[in-house]
């Protein structure tokens, strides 16, 4: 079973994402901000990260930059999932090392489609 770290400051979004991803056979770990997510990755690297952009303490983008700098044998696949839905943000995310990008609102079809494209399913 693959693992996915769901990073979002909204409890509701984390709950919805958890339900969808568990249905796709992922084991879920949750984090409320980038700092918590980084600590989770330092403890154990997940296979995938579903990542919000705007969060307190540490943003999704700051987390991604720090994550990609970690000396990991196997870096996770990172899929942004955010309300930032303009081209400039998307390009910034790709340059920082995001593998895919979901523009909120999302549904199970979009999550499944994106996770399938990057070979997670």
């Amino acid at each position: 079973m693959k693992s996915c770290l769901v990073v979002d400051d909204s409890k509701v979004v984390r709950m919805v994402a958890r339900k969808i991803l568990e249905g796709l056979n992922f084991a879920i770990i949750e984090a409320e901000d980038g700092q918590q997510a980084l600590e989770a990755c330092q403890r154990e690297m997940p296979d995938a990260v579903l990542l919000d952009w705007n969060m307190p303490v540490m943003s999704g983008l700051e987390f991604l930059v720090e994550l990609r700098a970690l000396p990991a044998v196997q870096q996770p696949i990172v899929v942004f999932c955010t309300t930032e839905n303009d081209m400039a943000h998307i390009q910034q995310a790709i340059e920082a090392g995001a593998n895919e990008y979901i523009m909120k609102p999302f549904d199970s079809d979009i999550i499944e489609s994106k996770f399938s494209q990057v070979g997670l399913i």
């Binding site: 839905n85 081209m87 998307i90 895919e100 979901i102 979009i110």
Partner: protein, 281 residues
């Protein structure tokens, strides 16, 4: 809706488009035809059916037929048919058409355009290898209304997130508010036109690759056989036919056989290809 109305409309659909409407899909009739009734200012479904019975108004009959077509589509649908295009079909054609440098591709039921645009993106990615080549994509659909959307190449946020890699969104789309407009160059690579698969397929010419995905499932066996046999006559001996995941030629047409190891891709059988048949004898 009474049985006679259902039978009348389902016969009309079958004659005009080949679509088979079974009794369990009867619920679709009213939900899809009510907007047509409103557009034509009829009081409701019953009055629309009465008008269809009474008149030979071609535009009304077209609207009724088009309303019953299914236009579900998305970019890189099922992924595999496009990986196969990139990794197997295109390299084969680059090698075997090097003297003519000409490739013709037909997207036979293109709906809102995601299939031909996906092919255009893949061809664009191979533009260095295709320099000096003449590649034509013909995209057809029964519905003129859906073709208008396809030609515009404007998609919602939801549509660009189903199947389309984010790197391609950045590379081939421009954002316009909450809509995404496909690149002008890609639009220029595709020739969109209305076409009914029941009509003379030969009029479209010959194609190296035919995508006919998720359309045969709506036809009955004789119509499937007619379309498949017609397509066989439009292809060179090494042409490729791609069908949808739930479609097959088995038990329907002897013109095609599955290409070994390539799920969903069919080539001509020797008996349907005069050149191969001659070589074999």
């Amino acid at each position: 809706m009474n049985v006679k109305d259902f039978e009348f409309i389902s016969q009309l659909l079958y004659k005009r488009s080949g679509l088979v409407l079974t009794q369990e899909k009867a619920y679709l009739l009213e939900s899809r035809l009510n907007p047509v009734a409103r557009k034509w200012e009829f009081k409701g479904f019953d009055e629309l059916v009465a008008a269809v019975r009474a008149s030979g108004n071609e535009k009304l009959l077209n609207d009724v037929t088009e309303a019953m077509t299914t236009n579900e589509s998305f970019f890189f649908r099922d992924q595999k048919p496009f990986t196969q295009f990139k990794e197997m079909i295109l390299p084969h054609l680059l090698q075997n058409r090097s003297s003519t440098k000409k490739i013709r591709i037909w997207s036979a039921a293109c709906s809102s355009g995601q299939e031909p645009y996906t092919l255009a993106m893949l061809l664009s990615e191979a533009k260095a290898q295709l320099a000096g080549w003449n590649v034509e994509i013909l995209a057809t659909d029964l519905s003129t209304e859906i073709l208008t959307k396809a030609k515009q190449g404007v998609y919602s946020q939801f549509e660009v997130q189903r199947g389309l890699p984010i790197s391609y969104l950045v590379k081939y789309f421009k954002q316009d508010g909450d809509k995404w407009q496909i690149d002008e160059k890609l639009r220029g690579m595709i020739n969109f036109r209305p076409f009914n698969l029941l009509s003379d397929l030969g009029a479209l010419g010959r194609f190296d690759v035919i995508y006919c995905r998720n359309v045969l499932i709506y036809f009955d066996q004789p119509t499937k056989a007619k379309v498949l046999d017609g397509m066989a006559k439009m292809m060179p001996e090494d042409g490729f036919l791609l069908l949808g995941g739930a479609e097959t030629v088995l038990g329907i047409s002897d013109s095609f056989k599955l290409i070994p190891g390539q799920r969903g891709i069919y080539g001509l059988t020797p008996q349907s290809d005069p050149i191969a048949a001659q070589k074999a004898s």
